[in-house]
Symmetry: C2
Subunit: 256 residues, 2 copies
DNA sequence: ACCTGAACACCGTTCAAGT
DNA sequence: ACCTGAACACCGTTCAAGT
């Protein structure tokens, strides 16, 4: 039982057998890794992340779902491949531009492609940034933060935060857009309802209540630029002051 | 078929029948909404979000899984209740403190409680901020951003971004901590491997490679404070300049 | 009013067996 | 080398029926 599993993993991890000009020779379905990723992207774009199951994917490829496991180690790896393929569509900014422009370029590339794939922000946020394209973007961000005056350790942390910041902003935008698209009550209405429902009780929400009129008419584009510029203003207004790498080498700790 | 479903939803939405001093009278399992949420939190803390299934939850409560559906509309609502219960442990800052201190207080409350529940950041990031406690926190953030010089519409957007920023930072921290805890290779090693694996090819990652030595020794606490202060510096260095509410009332649009 | 039993339509994954 | 068939251990949810 152990043995077979081990060899199966070994098979799946040894990929790209020779080239990509090898399929459809004598294989049954002529399934290739790239086909699987392409079909996954199509599925994601059409029906969202919930539809991205091994079984539906196999059906779309005209194959039984266990067939996927010869090409891919498991669903986790499949999702990572999809995530990296998505990031492969993003353009990595040139090194010779000023740091802030590079960070802005990364942001707009994120937004440009992630808004075209359904649920992509959620997908990228959940998966650790593996894969060559994702790491390349990460590397570019680290470089930009380094050039902004952060130490190496700080730049690494900042790049991670930046990534999550962008994914959060874009994810929120796509979530709102999806709500409107599917005809559900626009979120302003939903929140207004909640507010009036609970308003008379002990808790009331003065600021939201005050701003309720503006809830529906937030331009996603302007909001994105605002959030981004606030963050980058913070970046610009700071030289390397904080100290993220402790003196005595110490493991990552979580609060406690 | 339609009718019955409708009444079932009506039943589930009409909750808190009288008070909470009513259960265990003649009911079989004496199941109450609060019990379900409490058991969910315990399950979450012990085995993470993957274990938080209706069936495992029911088992822990000594009940069949369909029983839950009398008390709760579905899994989505269950998760929202759990999320709000978690946020109920956070302290909302006083209004009379300076805006920046309020935002810092919100941040440290987020971090304090989210690091105690497994996968809580992911949970909160995926769910829209419904529920009284979550809305109260959101309201406090909107107030703080308003007092920082943002217009109402801007403050709403900033509060959303702030939430995602915090969830992203804390989520990354807990993810790293989980990797270390479960004995998996610490992420520094993993990334270093990826780097050396792909390094000789066309792509190489100069900045990550340069910073690789610092990857393992990032103090999560210091990193959090760094990211937070950068963001809040950006907030402080900005009066209300941007314009998030468009002149001609226009729906939320995505990209293009 | 509150819960069970049985069923439906799904999942991801393993593994022997086919070709 | 690449794929199928059958199976395992799960999901969330509905709905009639029990008490």
């Amino acid at each position: 039982v152990r043995k077979v599993t081990a060899t199966a993993q070994a098979r799946a991890s040894r990929r790209k057998p020779a080239s990509n000009a090898k399929r459809a020779a004598g294989s049954r379905a002529g399934l290739a890794r790239d086909d699987i990723v392409a079909a996954s992207l199509a599925l994601l774009q059409k029906d969202g992340i919930v539809a991205l199951s091994t079984r539906q994917l196999a059906a779309r490829l005209g194959v039984q779902s266990p067939a996927l496991y010869w090409h891919v180690r498991g669903k986790q790896e499949l999702l990572e491949l999809v995530a990296d393929a998505i990031c492969g569509e993003m353009h990595v900014p040139d090194e010779d531009r000023p740091a802030r422009l590079r960070l802005e370029a990364i942001a707009s590339e994120y937004r440009r492609v992630l808004t075209t794939y359904r649920d992509a922000p959620r997908l990228l946020a959940e998966l650790p940034p593996t894969g060559p394209h994702r790491i390349a973007l990460y590397d570019a961000a680290v470089g930009a933060f380094s050039d902004s005056g952060f130490t190496a350790a700080e730049a690494i942390a900042m790049a991670t935060f930046y990534r999550h910041f962008l994914l959060g902003m874009i994810g929120e935008e796509t979530r709102q857009a999806a709500l409107v698209r599917t005809g559900k009550q626009k979120p302003a209405k939903a929140l207004a309802e909640e507010l009036s429902q609970l308003g008379d009780d002990a808790l009331n929400y003065p600021h939201l209540r005050n701003a309720a009129a503006f809830l529906s008419d937030v331009d996603a584009d302007a909001a994105f630029r605002l959030g981004l510029s606030v963050f980058l203003d913070g970046v610009a207004g700071r030289a390397a002051t904080a100290d993220v790498a402790p003196k005595k080498p110490r493991r990552v700790t979580h609060s406690r």
